[in-house]
Symmetry: C3
Subunit: 424 residues, 3 copies
């Protein structure tokens, strides 16, 4: 995953344009059946309109001394996203109004975008900005806005039922690691794992979209089918560092996605950070908006906005995102999906306790300690009343749900259980 992220890092992604296309193309080399969609500028999508496409060839500043700084081709964060073209010579005073830097992070180039008003600007480290001298500066951005398309990728992996799990991630940020590349690379590897499974109970709808306008566009085209079929889902963002695990609820807060997320995180990292809906900031804002109301939660490593390198050039693949960080993000999401696949409403088929002894599941000699040996099995049986999901039972027994999978198999082998699927 880390190597794939390295390949994707230099591309100049934005909410539209060739950076997104190249990113999706590279991801498509790793997962089969990824379909790319293009939606024309000007298309009405709910309360929004698909914007013009943004293209940029170069951008830089020439200092009075002739030095080229803020060179887009060195680091695509140097030019603000959706910057209008400019080609001018101006004083330092005038230039200053178009510069963005962070006084408390003097070595960081900030990530700034201008949606959807025309302006030009450069992002620069505060350290470099402080050294700028009086004089005439040449500013050049060779960009254009034109009627083009918004691009996104979609992968449908069929399951035994039409009921769906949504996995969404975004592909619109330029060269940043945790708050950009961690999402698409982890989702790519989750897709590979899902495609390799012998069978899946649910159908998986996996989408790679530009944030906000992309999810709105996708929803506006697919909302009726999504509302009908989606039983759970996750917005995958910031899943690549090693510092923590986090959970952000759906607006509803009590969906299957929320229940499973909290359960899996509790047993993965008891110290995981639990955010509120008011801490939201990514595409869950659209998926859970009033009237949309999809059951989408977020499982993250360190959340956007909560680590110092966020939205700067310091969010990189060296110090922030690591192979083990990505692995942890992947694994917790894999366990979560596995729990959704295994969740069901077990119902015991006999009245009274089943006679476990004759089935070799209970000791035939009764001493002071015999009950404890089969404790978890009898707990599973007593709650298998058709009203408790396997997840509920795991919570009641205070064990990770995966400890119940082999016991369910044992009871099924004895034809003692009926499993009812989870129904929304």
């Amino acid at each position: 995953m880390h190597k794939l992220a390295e390949k994707l890092f230099p591309l100049n992604r934005s909410i539209t344009g060739d950076g997104v296309r190249k990113t999706l193309s590279l991801l498509g080399e790793n997962i089969k059946d990824l379909v790319i969609f293009e939606v024309p500028s000007g298309t009405k999508v709910f309360d929004w309109v698909v914007p013009k496409e943004w293209s940029i060839l170069s951008g830089y500043i020439l200092t009075p001394g002739g030095k080229k700084i803020c060179d887009f081709n060195q680091n695509n964060l140097h030019v603000i996203g959706y910057s209008a073209p400019v080609n001018d010579s101006i004083s330092l005073e005038d230039l200053d109004k178009h510069l963005y830097s962070l006084s408390d992070q003097p070595n960081a180039i900030p990530y700034v975008t201008s949606y959807y008003a025309e302006r030009w600007g450069f992002c620069i480290t505060h350290k470099e900005r402080a050294l700028l001298e009086e004089g005439v500066y040449k500013v050049k951005v060779d960009s254009c806005l034109f009627d083009g398309n918004l691009t996104y990728g979609e992968l449908i992996i069929k399951g035994q039922t039409d009921k769906e799990v949504l996995i969404s991630t975004y592909v619109c940020h330029p060269s940043m690691a945790n708050d950009q590349l961690s999402g698409p690379v982890v989702v790519t590897y989750l897709a590979k794992w899902l495609q390799l499974l012998q069978s899946r109970k649910y159908t998986y709808r996996i989408i790679f979209v530009p944030e906000t306008i992309g999810s709105i566009t996708y929803l506006s085209k697919n909302i009726s089918q999504m509302k009908k079929n989606i039983i759970a889902g996750f917005n995958v963002s910031c899943v690549g560092d090693d510092r923590s695990y986090s959970y952000l609820p759906s607006r509803n807060g009590k969906t299957l996605s929320d229940q499973v997320s909290k359960h899996i995180l509790k047993w993965t990292d008891p110290d995981y950070v639990s955010y509120e809906w008011s801490d939201r900031g990514s595409d869950e804002r659209q998926f859970c908006a009033p009237g949309i109301d999809l059951p989408i939660a977020s499982i993250m490593r360190t959340k956007y906005g909560k680590y110092p390198e966020y939205h700067t050039s310091l969010d990189d693949l060296q110090n922030v995102v690591t192979p083990s960080g990505l692995e942890g993000g992947y694994e917790v999401l894999r366990l979560t999906i596995e729990a959704i696949e295994n969740n069901c409403y077990p119902q015991i088929k006999v009245l009274g306790e089943p006679q476990l002894g004759k089935r070799g599941l209970y000791p035939t000699i009764s001493t002071k300690n015999s009950a404890s040996e089969t404790f978890l099995l009898t707990e599973l049986i007593t709650w298998s009343d058709g009203n408790h999901s396997l997840l509920d039972i795991a919570e009641k027994c205070n064990v990770p749900i995966w400890e119940l999978y082999p016991l369910i198999k044992k009871l099924q082998a004895q034809k003692l259980l009926v499993l009812e699927d989870y129904v929304v």
Copy 2:
């Protein structure tokens, strides 16, 4: 308000009689359309009967030394409420059985009534009682009980709907300030404010009744219409001192009145005192009785029974009830009514987030901090799903509801909201 209270102070109010009539007449000079009702003695009202009317001209004791003490015309608390007439000469020992004083408040004349058994008696400061010498005392109460009427006042202020807010206060206590006059004067000024509003969503039913028997009488005549229309209401009592704010719930505890009261008090005085239904003591006992079950809560300053001057001559307009105390009581009730008027179920009209930027409601440049600037607006939007009242939303956002009024106006101006009225 304090000046009006001063005018009303000397009148000899009781559950019936001219003291109530004069009080209502003085209030009627301040609010137009107050209608006075008379209900004859003997009328059956639920489990009760309207009592005989009590009239008293004078009452006093002549000491053996010829000194006139306990003179009703000096202080109407000196004769117990509903005292039977007496005209006799008796020993100190016999007199003593008819005297009421408070050993722990030696300078206070207590307030004592005799409902509904015939007896006579005098209330006296413990200090004066201690000085009484042996000898023959002349006792005189020139009172009579006769078939008359119970008197109450009613003011209906029409709103856009038939749904009503009830405001009830009592007018049956003699010369006491917090536990008597604070209620009627604050309600009088609330009525004036309501009458001056350009429009009101709800109709206001404002009543001035004798406590207990008056509210029972009023309910027995109006119960069916009240049960049909009243969506919220308040019993207004003890709203005139400066020492605290208090809340006493309805019997149900979860009505709109309860929700609004707790919200407004929390943001007016975080240290407000929250009582239980078991602490009740005024007309909420009738309004919330089983089978009546109106949504009536109480917002008070310092509650009856909880301040040392309660039910004594020390409950006065000098040391207990103050202009600022009354102003605080008025203001918290005004804010409460305003919250009920503004409460609604807002519903956003677009799917997904609305594009605030194109409406000038969101910054077009995205930096690290842009989200926080419009945080409250987006919180309001995300909860405007038609299932949360504005009050619920204020609680979720942890802001006073009045901070949301201008935001609601902004979104309405953009035609982004539908407002559903509160429905019981």
Copy 3:
């Protein structure tokens, strides 16, 4: 009760056989109308089969020195329950595989059974076991397993309605006191008390069954009537020592039985131990199994498994079970049944507060303190809205329910109340 327990102590009870029959016969001498049922070996009962009957005449070991030890006729715990017959001479090494003792309780003979696999064995104190010398031992168990019956007792005490309260206890353990005899003797005396009552609202179904297989057998024969009629019930076990009171919930946890148990225990012993459903271990496992779901809770003194003498010869009538321990167990169950009999949904018949004064239930003179005198009565009235059970009201008033019985009578005498029966 303690004397009856002494009589029952020596009998060799098991899940089948004459020990159970003799026990039921002795109990039948104390309560009239106890009916004995016999269910043939081989009868299919839910997932189980009624086992062969076990009969044992003698059992012992002869040491190399000719000493008779582990003599069944001295203490029936010496031979493991359902031991197969044996008649052999073996080495100490071979004997050792058939001996059961407790190293941490060297003076205790453990209680061990072998359900449902054929094996033979002896239970011995660890102290005696340690003294056994090398040599040839003669082992003799004169027992047999044959097609017989499983025996249980049932007593139906008719009430005014068909709705039933179940009281179940077990009769299958040999000579032990708290975890055997305390249950049947306390239930016997509860039955005597119930039979002597002038009338009962509910019908009482009282059963004496072998644990597990007995309750399963009983349920399989009576389940449809039990599910239709039973509104509450208790499994009575370990109610004879003085050390504590305990509660174990039904699987549901919120049945009437649970509510009443917790209420009565709180007011009997505020330090009572509250167990979880996962701590279950007796016939509540069958009564509350999925699909059975009867409202059965357990009230105990010190719970099975939670005292050191449990399932050993030390669980006796001298040091563990005492007359006062049994009396406490009886009394808390009697109060519980009384609460179920008295529970109802009271509804006040007048609108507004009733006028208590004219009925002599309220002081006619109103002073600062008059309200407190009748506080509990007015609390009862205010919650008598038909939606709160008497038990709910006692909880709201924070008083034991029995303090409300006389007040209910007072209000009934005044025709102020309608009492609705508890309905499941």
